[in-house]
């Protein structure tokens, strides 16, 4: 594995240089938050931010995405051509939890039988540069409970770790090595690596939230029907914020839009929190109340995904906890279940 050392003040310059040559998604300040945006000229990429408000899943799985186009002919609507192909890109500044979310999403979108070409195309062409969390940014972080860590390399192509006066830059994949030329010739020394080890242990120990996410699987296996499910949903507003901010939520809707003779088929993020999500044309709804929807969300993340793909569908980023308008806390739900 190639390892480099760069002076801390050079990092933004390097990212801007890459952005001059290809599309770079980077965290930028906007209004009251930090968001991943295509890095434009003269815009400063954020480096010392906690985490972005939105997860970067939008880059591979946009909130709204064109799937195909069609046009009206005298024989009726005819399919014309598919959307655009993705271009080479760099995702800079992901946090380890968010980088890890892509490994989880890959299991769904990049299966052997049905590959999702829209996701896979963008994912394959994007190099992910992650910045390790030297100090976990929030008290709501719980990545270590769900298989990650503040310095997890899972999903990253290049890992940057702040080791004091410099960044240790580790090129983890061949895809990542394509960016080697931008990071100078200074080889990382043994000292930097030793420091990284130290940082990894310290950062993991600083994670304040611990939830028994793996442990509740056996309960979930047996208790689809349980009085506990009556206790979490009452205050839920069904706003869907938790699912939209979640790095691993992947549900979508497909719909058609027509303007004049042209139309598009698009997909939009959807949410299991919405009453209409499973509503059938007959009026029958297999998940008729918010209770069933909350059970679905909990089961999907901590049981179904584990059954299907052998991984919890949560990276412990804590966004759903921070932004829920009525303070529903998945950590509490999981902890409460573990006590049943």
């Amino acid at each position: 594995m190639e390892k480099r050392s760069i002076k801390k003040e050079t990092l933004t310059g390097i990212i801007k240089k890459i952005a001059g040559e290809m599309r770079v998604f980077a965290p930028v300040k906007e209004e009251d938050g930090v968001f991943f945006r295509v890095l434009g000229e003269g815009v400063e990429p954020q480096i010392n931010y906690a985490n972005t408000k939105n997860a970067p899943k939008n880059i591979f799985f946009p909130r709204t995405e064109k799937m195909m186009k069609y046009t009206r002919t005298d024989k009726g609507m005819e399919f014309v051509e598919n959307g655009e192909e993705a271009k080479d890109a760099v995702l800079f500044g992901a946090r380890p939890c968010d980088a890890r979310s892509f490994v989880l999403l890959d299991r769904l979108f990049d299966q052997e039988k049905y590959k999702d070409p829209y996701y896979v195309d963008k994912r394959e062409k994007t190099v992910i540069l992650t910045i390790a969390c030297v100090h976990p940014p929030y008290s709501t972080c719980f990545c270590t409970s769900v298989g990650g860590s503040p310095t997890s390399e899972e999903g990253s192509d290049v890992m940057l770790t702040d080791v004091g006066d410099s960044y240790l830059v580790e090129f983890l994949t061949p895809k990542g090595e394509k960016l080697l030329k931008y990071f100078g010739d200074t080889q990382a020394d043994a000292d930097a690596e030793a420091k990284k080890k130290e940082i990894a242990e310290k950062a993991a120990s600083e994670i304040a939230s611990h939830v028994p996410a793996k442990e509740i699987k056996t309960f979930l296996d047996e208790n689809f029907e349980h009085p506990f499910w009556d206790t979490i949903h009452q205050k839920c507003l069904a706003c869907g914020t938790c699912t939209f901010l979640c790095p691993t939520c992947h549900c979508f809707d497909i719909s058609d839009e027509v303007k004049g003779p042209d139309g598009v088929r698009i997909r939009n993020w959807d949410s299991c929190m919405f009453p209409m999500f499973t509503m059938e044309t007959s009026g029958h709804n297999p998940r008729p109340s918010q209770k069933e929807r909350w059970r679905q969300r909990t089961m999907h993340k901590f049981k179904y995904y584990v059954d299907m793909f052998n991984a919890i569908s949560c990276v412990g980023c804590g966004r759903c906890v921070m932004y829920c308008p009525v303070n529903i806390d998945i950590r509490k739900i999981v902890t409460d279940i573990s006590k049943l």
């Binding site: 009726g76 609507m77 049905y114 088929r265």
Partner: protein, 279 residues
Amino acid sequence: MQNPYIPMPVEVIKIITEVDTKDIKTFRLAFLNKEDEERFKYTPGQFAELSIYGKGESPIGIASSPTQPGYIEFTVQKAGVVTSALHAMEEGAKMGVRGPLGNSWPIEYLEGKNIVIVGGGFAFTTLRSLLNYMIYEENRKRFGKITVVYGARSPGLLIYKDELEAWGKRDDVNLHVTVDKGDETWKGKEGFVPAVCEEVAPSSENAVTVICGPPVMIRFTLPVFFNLGFSKENIITSLEMRMKCGIGKCGRCNVGNKYVCKDGPVFSLAELDQLTKEY
């Protein structure tokens, strides 16, 4: 990379109005590209997304049998946006089809066994596919006795009337057609499907029953087959859920850890017992 979301273009070559209320029609579709037709290899029990540009898609069971080359058929009730647009279509119209999707009736498992088909209302579509597949000349000897119980609310609501007549004339199909309530022209059986199943009382020996119909029919039919000695492995049905992608990605049609679109729609009762009751 094959894009599983792109429909194959087809032409509506025939439309048959099945019922006297005119809200159930069978659409016969022919592929516009030969290579699509060859790619669309299906087994009875599978479904496809019918795609109407500008309206959307609807998942519908395939009503034709793979033994009928040159076209595929779907019997559709007019209900929502897409099916209403479909019902407004005329012969010669172009649309799209995406599939075949889902698992299928377990043909290999059914081979060598006596088959009891039980259908209600217009949920007879993929059962018709199975029946036509089994009675196809080259296939018939692979299956044992075939018993069919099919019912609708009234004579006018029976679908596939011409075929019902033809099947009735065959001596290798034991056909029982019933209606909840007959009219002055109806000379056949009257009564609910579960009651007719009880009366026909097919033997459970080396037999599998394949049931499709409204939930209330299924609820009352299952005990009849338990009493006849059918095991849960040998009672097979098909589920319906709201679907979009049809390939296990969009996340809405799961029942427990199974996606109905990808892991189903066909499940045995033994398999359904392992799933949550959320459908």
